[in-house]
């Protein structure tokens, strides 16, 4: 029986010639990640093991991104706990304010993940690195603690859904629309416990930014991981960002998929996920007037340079609507700097938006843009659960940077193609 991309990476990291779906295996890890929310719990558990050191100082990374720059005293204590631990254990890849960015934008940029890696992160959006052809999945703090201690994690080998991509996206449509369209189609548990494997001739028309965004939200369909077949675009990105050598795993021709779904990218429209689940996807032909109070453009899903370029193109020379607080959050320092050098920040500020230092901030209702009771936000983030961005009676509409920017200008949910017409 042939293996999927994911199964091949897992087999290689478990020291096995082959694996089958359902098999329980112990996997050797190339990277173990945590943030300022999940690492403190992991450190508490790690300390129970009585181990003096982490399994590999180069292969553990902590990124202070959720409640950093410290939003309050308790958050400061949590970051300090991580800082002290990494200092004590000489963990090389500790990223604090000044160096940090949102973890899933930062790690690919720093070249810490390459194709063929097996990565766990105590953050559900760790599945992002599947865009690089790695097996990468979110876990909890205890898994992170054990990963830090022994460099291994247990997994049940997943089955998979194959997404066969064809065609090319239209103007003002991007990776976010593709993944919201898919989640709308299969539901928030449509890929539960499974891999989502992306392949097909349409891949060549998807930038790394689009792929990272799509893989990032695989978890919102319940998936264990999302992974893209490696091509020249991937290899080019890895070469530019990493000194490590990628290992390319292709699915066997006779690999078994539970389902094959064809997606014609040219048919994907601007899509918005309505409250309170990412599966509530609607296109503008099915959207009535939805007035908004806030727009957030950023997060591990859509805080990359290409996202900011797309938003700036729409906002250039226009003013955001009165009473729509528009918050732009470049995902890393490098993106922030590049956006500044390209003049994007000037466009945002002149349009009446604010630009924040990198942080997860409002995405999870942490800080930097919390919603009051009854308020509505259009956000390029990844979840619109009850209370996600603030008050339990506030609402989050998930959308692409293009839709978010157009909505900021219009003061209501807006189709970028209409705003730009």
């Amino acid at each position: 029986m042939g293996m999927t991309m994911t199964q091949k990476i897992l087999a290689a990291h478990a020291g096995l010639d082959s694996v089958e779906s359902g098999q329980l295996i112990l996997v050797n890890l190339d990277l173990v990640l945590g943030n300022d929310i999940t690492s403190p719990v992991a450190i508490r558990e790690f300390n129970k093991l009585g181990k003096e050191n982490v399994f590999d100082k180069e292969k553990v990374t902590m990124v202070m991104d959720h409640f950093a720059p410290n939003k309050d005293i308790k958050a400061a204590e949590q970051c300090k706990m991580c800082r002290d631990f990494c200092g004590e254990k000489s963990v090389t890849n500790f990223f604090d304010v000044g160096e940090m960015g949102i973890e899933h934008a930062l790690l690919p940029e720093k070249g810490l993940v390459v194709a063929g890696d097996a990565v766990i992160g105590a953050d559900s959006h760790t599945c992002t690195y599947g865009a690089l052809g790695a097996f990468s999945t979110g876990v909890g703090s205890t898994d992170m603690a054990c990963g830090m201690a022994i460099g291994k994690a247990w997994f049940k080998v997943p089955t998979a859904i194959k997404f066969n991509l064809t065609g090319k996206l239209n103007k003002y449509v991007s990776g976010k629309d593709v993944i919201l369209h898919i989640i709308g189609m299969i539901g928030v548990d449509g890929a539960l416990y499974k891999s989502m494997e992306f392949t097909g001739e349409g891949l060549k028309n998807l930038s790394m930014s689009d792929r990272l965004c799509i893989a990032n939200m695989a978890i919102e369909a319940g998936a264990k991981n999302g992974i893209f077949e490696v091509d020249d675009i991937t290899l080019d990105y890895i070469e530019k960002h990493s000194t490590r050598k990628p290992v390319v795993f292709k699915a066997d021709d006779d690999a078994e998929y539970e389902q094959v779904i064809d997606i014609d990218l040219s048919q994907v429209k601007s899509t918005v996920a309505f409250p309170h689940l990412p599966e509530n996807a609607r296109t503008f032909d099915k959207i009535d007037e939805v007035k908004i109070d806030q727009v957030v453009i950023g997060s591990c899903t859509n805080g990359r340079l290409e996202d900011l370029i797309a938003a700036a193109e729409i906002m250039k020379g226009k003013k955001v609507a009165k009473n729509v607080r528009t918050i732009i959050i470049p995902a890393t320092q490098k993106i922030y700097l590049e956006a500044m050098e390209m003049g994007l920040l000037k466009i945002f500020i002149e349009s009446g938006a604010v630009v924040s230092t990198p942080t997860c901030g409002p995405c999870l209702g942490g800080h930097m843009g919390i919603l009051a009771k009854g308020e509505r936000a259009v956000a390029t983030t990844n979840r619109n659960f009850v209370g996600r961005m603030g008050h339990p009676e506030s609402e989050v509409y998930l959308a692409s940077p293009e839709v978010a920017a157009a909505s900021a200008i219009a003061g209501k949910l807006a189709d970028p193609a209409v705003v730009m017409a």
Partner: protein, 164 residues
Amino acid sequence: MKYEGTVIKYGDNVDTDVIIPARYLNTIDKKELASHCMEDLDTTFVSRVKVGDIMVAGQNFGCGSSREHAPIAIKESGISIVIAKSFARIFYRNSINIGLGIVECPEAAEDIKEGDIVEADMDNGIIYNKTTGKQYKTAPFPDFVQKIIENGGLIQSIADGVIK
């Protein structure tokens, strides 16, 4: 392991943001986390939950964020076991890793009602609703997972050398 308790029931897609809202994630104190458990979904949970109570829910329980604070808050609030139609995968493994009882049983999760008295016999994979007299069979854990649970979680399994 055998559990018996009164049922507190919820619906589908209960996410970790409502189990423990992110605004409380600036602490790792178990009691403090438990004091806000389920707050954005059910403000009465914390005041009415009793030690040993059983949580029953629909599909995809624990979806969303990987925060282990979610199963920690549920466990610390006194819930002995969660029975659901299905679980989100990160929540599922987190629960096993920290030793929160967890069982997938769509029929039981559909039938059992709020306030029912339920017995869950995990050694034999049997859920018995004492209120209605109805019994349900569940699949036992795979041996590997059973070993982690019997050892009191993943940390203890590594400390004891069960997993190397």
